[in-house]
Amino acid sequence: MADSADSPVETPESDKTLETQSDREIDSVPSEPPSTSGVADSPSKAKTNKIDILLKATGNAPIMKTKKWALDKDKKIGWIIDFIKKYLKLEPSESLFLYVNQAFAPAPDQIVRNIYDCYGSDGKLVLHYCKSQAWG
């Protein structure tokens, strides 16, 4: 996994970067919520391993104020699920489901790169999240 040496560069206001701490494993929930302010933003996606993910609420899930996040493609789906749960301040016991194409839920250990290569385009990947099973 890549080192988290993202250099801080300016980005459009709506763009924030998911903090990439390479020592975070999918099954160990980050000890503190990824900071949503003053995080090292990195728009230099072309040369890095990053894509934009667009997180859309569905069903009864609360909406995230910031929907677009830059993310390292080597991250696992479970990392995004943990991130959203922290962001929305959900209890660890609450479920959160993440869907691709509003059709299927990838496994938490699936690598974002695989999902992006198949279902993303132009550096962007849309994911829907939900607090109950939406599309099976």
């Binding site: 194409n101 059709a103 299927f104 250990d109 695989n114 999902i115 198949c118 279902y119």
Partner: protein, 264 residues
């Protein structure tokens, strides 16, 4: 596709002999349990075939651990329950002598390496999600979303109860194509050692409209290294001129993905 039905049957009947042993450090008491031998279907998943194994070893472990989640390792490597058994076997072929000796654990769950599997429902929802994903790739999700709940159940029960006819009565709808048609994209996962598997968008036909062979597919993924790649699936090495579309229809696992183990 139904012309090659005997291939489907052969694939379905694939079994591997397994010798399960309890981790010796988890034996509570003086008497160590006997190993437990089982022929397990390649196409199944460990949580679907290890109920008896669990019951066999349960009385030898510390009572506090009776309800703990059971997990399996081979040579110290935890085995992912959500990979089909045949994929796990093929991934470790060079190290395996038969029967395949696996160690059973009820303690020290490797959180960083394995997903939790609380029940068969966890396997079911993972399995169904794979089928849905495969149908997104093959038919833009058209077939699976037009199925009824009972069809979904039949796929799952067919796999769970090892009923070929029950499973294929529904699965054929997911595998059907007109005589000159192909799937839009081929659902596949490429495994190499401990690396995360690779998934890409690959069409079954070339830009000229020819059916792609396995070798052309490998060229697309591995470029000039394609000729060095050895592909194993269901314990066999398919010839490099096998059409990719045919492989998808006949050699896919019940989750509708081709699971190909590669070595260089």
């Amino acid at each position: 596709m139904a012309n090659d039905r005997e291939v489907l049957r052969e694939i379905w009947d694939g079994r591997v002999p397994v010798c399960f042993q309890l981790d010796s450090s988890e034996v509570n008491g003086l008497q160590a349990p006997d190993p437990y031998y089982l022929m397990v279907p390649r196409l199944s998943y460990f949580p679907l075939v290890t109920d008896k194994v669990r019951r066999h070893f349960q009385r030898y472990i510390h009572p506090d651990k009776h309800d703990a989640e059971m997990w399996v390792d081979f040579n110290g490597q935890p085995l992912k329950w959500h990979y089909p058994i045949g994929v796990l076997f093929d991934l470790h072929i060079p190290e395996i002598s038969l029967p395949w000796c696996l160690t059973i654990h009820f303690d020290k769950f490797p959180e960083a390496e394995l997903l939790h599997c609380s029940s068969r429902e966890a396997v079911e929802s993972y399995f169904m999600s794979c089928i849905k994903e495969a149908d997104v790739l093959k038919h833009r999700s058209q077939v699976v979303s037009n199925m009824q709940k009972k069809d979904h159940n039949q796929l799952w029960l067919g796999l769970q109860n090892d009923k070929f006819d029950q499973f294929w009565a529904v699965n054929r709808k997911l595998m059907e194509v007109g005589s000159d048609e192909t799937f839009k994209y081929i659902p596949f996962r490429l495994y190499q050692g401990d690396e995360p598997f690779i998934q890409r968008l690959v069409k079954p036909v070339t830009e000229e409209g020819q059916r792609k062979t396995l070798f052309q597919f490998l060229q697309e993924i591995y470029a000039e290294n394609a000729s060095k790649v050895k592909v194993t699936t269901h314990g066999v090495e398919p010839p490099s001129d096998t059409p990719l579309q045919w492989m998808s229809e006949h050699l896919s696992y019940p989750d509708n993905f081709l699971h190909l183990c590669v070595a260089f």
